[in-house]
Subunit: 153 residues, 2 copies
């Protein structure tokens, strides 16, 4: 079975009950599936439990590292901005997807709307972002910069 | 103590060992802190374990819902695109931050770089995004659309 078909199969299997959104994903490394994930937002009361996030976390657990560079993400739908940013943080540089953000929008998911928000400067976003206590925050970054024990990731 | 100061305090406390990035966050609802989070990427081998993500998940667990509309996120640093998209999915519409993406860049974190990627159309992104098996994927969305048991979120 093609890797993308397995991602789509996971989406179908885990959404049939109506309890989880219709999204599935697999992570492939060295031509083998090393992790699978599916949407569990409703089941877990976790708005971050998207298929891709769950697959990435599972792959990282499996390899015991937060950096899975060289892995490929196969997902039944184009990653939303949360999941796409997670692929960057995980070091993934190749994503194969079946449906896209517009298909997701057609079944009432906000992926496309959130992509549009990401294009805007902060003052124009729907979310109100305000800066406070900048100097107090910078002190922690300064301490981190000078921390000789720090582990970068 | 101000809510933003508590977020900054969490960042300081949990990064002093050098094992976790210097980021902290709290979620406030009805003028009370309902959840706290800090960066645990290295500790958990989880690239998604940012302070804001952990705080959002904890708040949702606490209230037993993936929708915490009306809550405010206080974070020691402007949320990266992953965390900002998570605030949308969680229904949060107000974010107070101390440091910003440029401060994070100055201590070698990729927040600003990932924001720049988000501004680009897919073909111009560093991550290679390719569509496959679109029709096969759409079938699952069609089934979901017609699923009378589905729970939207």
């Amino acid at each position: 079975m093609k890797f993308i078909s397995r991602a789509i199969q996971l989406a179908a299997e885990h959404s049939a009950s109506g309890n989880n959104g219709p999204f599935g994903a697999v992570i492939v490394k060295d031509d083998k599936i090393i992790a699978e994930g599916w949407n569990r937002v409703v089941e877990l009361n976790d708005p971050t439990a998207h298929a891709e996030m769950n697959a990435i976390k599972s792959a990282c657990q499996s390899l015991q590292t937060p950096d899975i560079s060289g892995a490929t993400l196969y997902t039944s739908c184009e990653p939303c901005p949360m999941c796409l940013a997670a692929t960057y943080w995980a070091g993934i540089d190749t994503v194969i997807y079946a449906c896209d953000r517009h298909d997701a929008e057609a079944i009432n998911f906000d992926d496309n709307a959130i992509y549009q928000e990401m294009q805007l400067d902060n003052p124009n976003k729907k979310i109100k972002l305000t800066q406070e206590s900048h100097k107090e925050g910078l002190k922690v970054f300064e301490d981190w910069k000078n921390n000789e024990k720090k582990i970068m990731y």
